[in-house]
């Protein structure tokens, strides 16, 4: 069974229909890249998956559990939306690190709050009954994540002391800390200087090797071809073409895909 199934997602802002029925599925460990020109709905799709936007239609299922179904008239409680969100992680184009916290605190903040709540409510969190014990475990995990993204030496720095590439790697570690089933990237290198994109892409490649399931919205065609198992080309709110990278990027069938890629290659 697929890890993620997205069925017929539709989303409009006022009279503008941004997503006109998106359907796809994703296996565990699969990497999906979404390409397409700006305004084609790529970012909106990611935001719907992370429950930052509510689609007017469609249904999202993870691991057989229906997280969202527009046909269900009950509105989700804030608590339910929070639980749903934890299935997904999102790395933003603009990093959005919390400036007043150190690198380590950025990574541990959310889980510490979660642990505190759980211990208060149920008496334990991940086997820890004592909050300080839980925090120690969370800290240890953060150190591991920092090592994974190669920033162990920046642990106690503030975001403003880091380069863009380093900030984005912290943002990746922060998203991983909540152990999402699916990690989403919204143009993770678009706000970076060209010489800094490499370090971020390298981290994402490592994550693929580690078997993470990822959805990556990107304009880096070479990278998309290289890292993904599937490439989706979106155009005007629909999936125009989807398939293995050799096909969609290497030998596109759809005329819109061809046009987009040729415009891309002119640059």
């Amino acid at each position: 069974m697929a890890l993620l199934t997205v069925e017929n997602i539709k989303k409009s802002f006022g009279k503008t229909e941004v997503l006109k029925g998106i359907t796809f599925s994703l296996e565990k460990g699969e990497v999906l890249s979404i390409i397409g020109s700006s305004g084609s709905g790529k970012t909106t799709l990611l935001r719907c998956l992370n429950f930052l936007e509510t689609p007017q239609m469609g249904c999202i299922t993870v691991n057989g559990e229906t997280l969202f179904d527009a046909a269900d008239s009950r509105t989700l409680s804030e608590a339910a939306i929070r639980l749903n969100r934890l299935h997904f992680g999102l790395v933003f184009q603009q990093f959005n690190l919390f400036p007043q916290y150190t690198v380590k605190q950025n990574i541990t903040l959310a889980e510490e709050l979660l642990a505190k709540e759980h211990i208060k409510k149920t008496g334990s969190y991940c086997g820890h009954t004592d909050y300080h014990e839980a925090v120690a475990a969370i800290d240890k995990k953060a150190d591991g994540l920092l090592e994974e993204v190669g920033l162990s030496d920046k642990r106690d720095n503030y975001p403003c002391q880091l380069s863009g590439g380093q900030q984005q790697r912290v943002a990746i570690a922060r998203a991983l800390a909540m152990e999402p089933d699916i990690l989403c990237f919204d143009e993770p290198t678009s706000a970076l200087d060209p010489e800094l994109t490499g370090e971020v892409l390298r981290v994402i490649r490592e994550l693929k090797k580690a078997g993470r399931t990822m959805i990556i919205v990107t304009h880096e065609m070479e990278f998309a071809r290289d890292v993904s198992d599937t490439v989706m080309f979106m155009d005007g709110g629909v999936v125009a073409e989807m398939g293995p990278p050799e096909q969609v990027i290497g030998n596109p069938q759809n005329s819109r895909t061809k046009e987009f890629l040729s415009r891309f290659n002119e640059r």
């Binding site: 992370n50 969100r85 997904f88 919390f98 400036p99 503030y158 403003c160 909540m178």
Partner: protein
């Protein structure tokens, strides 16, 4: 009267100025927060009511507001609340001016709460949406996001405009003398009237200057302490 005696006499008045300053800050600063939230409410009625109140309070001279608060209970309801409080305190404990100081405190607190609310609103609205969204995708609740992520960034951003307003506040306390509250300038005018001494009036400036100097140092330190991060 010797220089020392004048200083002590003026300092008595300055204590009243400091009282108005302290109470206004202590009550007005927290009161500004709910007003700010009302001004940002998604409910139009709440938002507009709050905005009209802020408009009136910021649009009318503070001196006039002091007169209104002081006289309205007597004029509209035939119950001169504040003069009654004055009498009550004087008869029971020999404390003069209590009612009038109370009227001044109410007017100042309301007035400054509205100014503060606009500073808060500006600060809160200046925090990029991405900070909230980053909190949401990590599974934080709205209130956790505000308390743990947004608040400190807002505080950092509002310290300079708040400092400005706080410095204005100590000087505004002189307005209390419009209903004969014995703050420092009223005291100096008293000396001019009874002892034909004019120089104490100018001497009052030194009190303000010293206090504003201290405020500047304290607020400057606070600003520096919060500058360890850049948002």
């Amino acid at each position: 009267m010797s220089f020392w005696e004048v200083t002590v006499f003026l300092f008595d008045g300055f204590l009243i100025s400091l009282l108005i300053f302290g109470v206004t800050l202590l009550c007005g600063a927290p009161l500004g927060l709910p007003i700010a939230f009302c001004s940002m409410s998604k409910y139009k009625v709440v938002r507009n009511t709050s905005k009209v109140i802020v408009w009136i309070v910021r649009g009318v001279p503070l001196m006039l507001q002091i007169f209104i608060i002081y006289y309205v209970p007597g004029l509209l309801f035939q119950f001169p609340l504040f003069s009654k409080v004055d009498q009550f305190f004087f008869l029971n404990w020999g404390i003069s001016d209590a009612g009038r100081i109370m009227a001044v405190l109410i007017a100042f607190t309301l007035n400054y709460a509205c100014y503060f609310s606009e500073i808060y609103r500006g600060g809160i609205e200046s925090i990029p949406k991405g900070q909230y969204e980053a909190g949401y995708v990590l599974g934080l609740t709205k209130s956790q996001i505000f308390r743990k992520i947004i608040l400190k960034q807002v505080i950092q951003r509002i310290v300079p405009p708040m400092s400005n307003e706080i410095i204005t506040l100590i000087k505004d306390t002189a307005l209390a003398n419009c209903i004969i509250v014995c703050e420092i300038i009223k005291q100096a005018k008293e000396l001019a009237a009874t002892k034909a001494m004019v120089w104490p009036l100018f001497y009052t400036g030194v009190f303000y200057l010293i206090f504003v100097g201290l405020l500047t140092i304290v607020l400057g330190r606070l600003e520096k302490k919060l500058s360890y991060f850049r948002s």
